[in-house]
């Protein structure tokens, strides 16, 4: 009996916890039946490892985390570009009903602290939880140190939270990717991208959400290191218009926000008004100007 047990574990790939228990009960005969099961499951091996977030697959992948990233791949895209005098965030709005109250709330852009903002792609309800967590972390830091939290530390702290959901607790990961834009006195303007695995990186230009691969390669071609904020806005709008599914781009399908230093030296986070955005879209040739009546 013991010999079979160890064989089972060695063959490994198609044995999960419940099967091991049944070995102890059924014993020797399990070994033979499982061989045929093995053949049947060869094509759908991953299905055995989906259900729990906190176990590895035999190829060393975390399927729940990857599925979370799939979910984000279907969500509205967002692009962030770092320029020498600010960070630009542009997002594609998926909900564009005329009935929606858009005056006060934003769909893609959120302010975390006076000096940090983020763009979101993925499941909005998950995003709300994480945004609140980020806000609390930023305030907690300021409560302790009476100084604004350095941007990377906030991103790191939030990503540590996200990582927890991939290792213990049995809860699914968050289906959200973030683009964090901020300024601090150590490193100036910064742009960070984070994903459900809890990984993050500092970027000069990044894209998340639908068609992010295409957007990322377009950004790689056209980004220059000394780009100005205005040029960055132009580039972001251009790239987004090319990768978005919709045929025509109007200001009600987009959100644009910028993080920059005001003339008094304070960090400002500004969401562009729909009118100003429409004018910009026309100016940069992204939409055709309305036909003169």
């Amino acid at each position: 009996m013991l010999g079979c047990y160890s064989r089972m574990v060695e063959a490994g790939s198609f044995v999960d916890h419940s099967s091991l228990r049944s070995i102890q009960v059924a014993g020797f005969f399990w070994f033979f039946t499982s061989q045929s099961q093995h053949f049947f499951f060869l094509f759908k091996m991953s299905r055995r490892y989906d259900s729990r977030t906190t176990i590895f697959s035999p190829e060393g992948r975390l399927y729940q985390v990857e599925y979370a990233m799939e979910a984000i791949g279907n969500a509205g895209s967002a692009i962030g570009i770092l320029s020498k005098d600010g960070v630009v965030l542009v997002g594609e709005k998926k909900v564009t009903s005329k009935l929606l109250q858009t005056s006060t709330s934003t769909e893609k852009m959120y302010k975390i602290d006076d000096h940090i903002a983020c763009a979101v792609a993925g499941i909005m309800s998950d995003a709300n939880i994480l945004i609140n967590t980020a806000r609390v972390q930023a305030q907690r830091y300021t409560f302790s140190y009476q100084e604004p939290m350095p941007v990377e530390q906030l991103v790191q702290s939030l990503c540590d939270t996200k990582q927890g959901y991939t290792q213990f607790g049995g809860l699914r990961p968050f289906g959200v990717s973030f683009l964090f834009a901020g300024w601090d006195k150590n490193y100036g303007f910064q742009l960070y991208m984070s994903d459900p695995s809890g990984n993050y990186g500092g970027w000069k230009a990044a894209a998340i959400g639908a068609n992010n691969q295409a957007a990322q390669s377009m950004l790689k071609q056209d980004y220059k290191d000394d780009i100005s904020r205005e040029e960055a806005v132009q580039l972001a709008l251009k790239v987004l218009s090319k990768t978005m599914d919709s045929t025509s781009l109007t200001s009600d399908k987009l959100e644009l926000a910028e993080v920059f230093l005001s003339s008094s030296g304070k960090v400002k986070y500004q969401v562009c008004t729909p009118d100003a955005l429409s004018k910009m879209l026309v100016k940069y040739g992204v939409t055709q100007p309305p036909a003169e009546a």
Binding site: F143, Y145, Q146, E147, K185, N186
Partner: protein, 198 residues
Amino acid sequence: MECVFGMVGKGFALVVADSSAVNSILVHKSNEDKIMVLDSHKLMGASGEAGDRAQFTEYVQKNVALYQYRNMIPLTTKAAANFMRGELATALRKNPYMVNIVLAGYDKETGPSLYFIDYIATLHKVDKAAFGYGSYFALSMMDRHYHPNMTVDEAIKLADQCIEEIRSRLVVAPQNFIIKIVDQDGAREHSWRRTTKD
């Protein structure tokens, strides 16, 4: 009768502390260093309950070091002062630390600064500060002779005047004093003022 005082000069800050370790009527040693070097550019002069003093100052020092390891940047003097105040405040209504601290630091962007941190978590950013019975004499002396932007020599002379007052007017005056300085080149020991050898 512990005594700690400090002042800010032009591009530097000074902290002076007595170096006696006393238990009731017995002087254990007169070369106890009560000014801890918190990191490369911070000094923390602490007076109070001996066990609490060591415990709290070491706790703060290790947390400041941890922050630097984690985040690749040092804490500013202001951030360190507020962190300390927060720790004292949290412990205050359960298990208070009976420690008074004078924190001096030099930051590249803002220059030298001095913080007065009480055992009940009072925090003040000041130009001159003092704790203990010696503070009656040190503060009066500094009120009379301190002016902003003093040179190191002027500040040391003023510190000596304060020490002289403490020695001559305080009934159980501490025997030895240690002076430490922090400026753009870092925090370091400046000198001792001894009446006894230990």
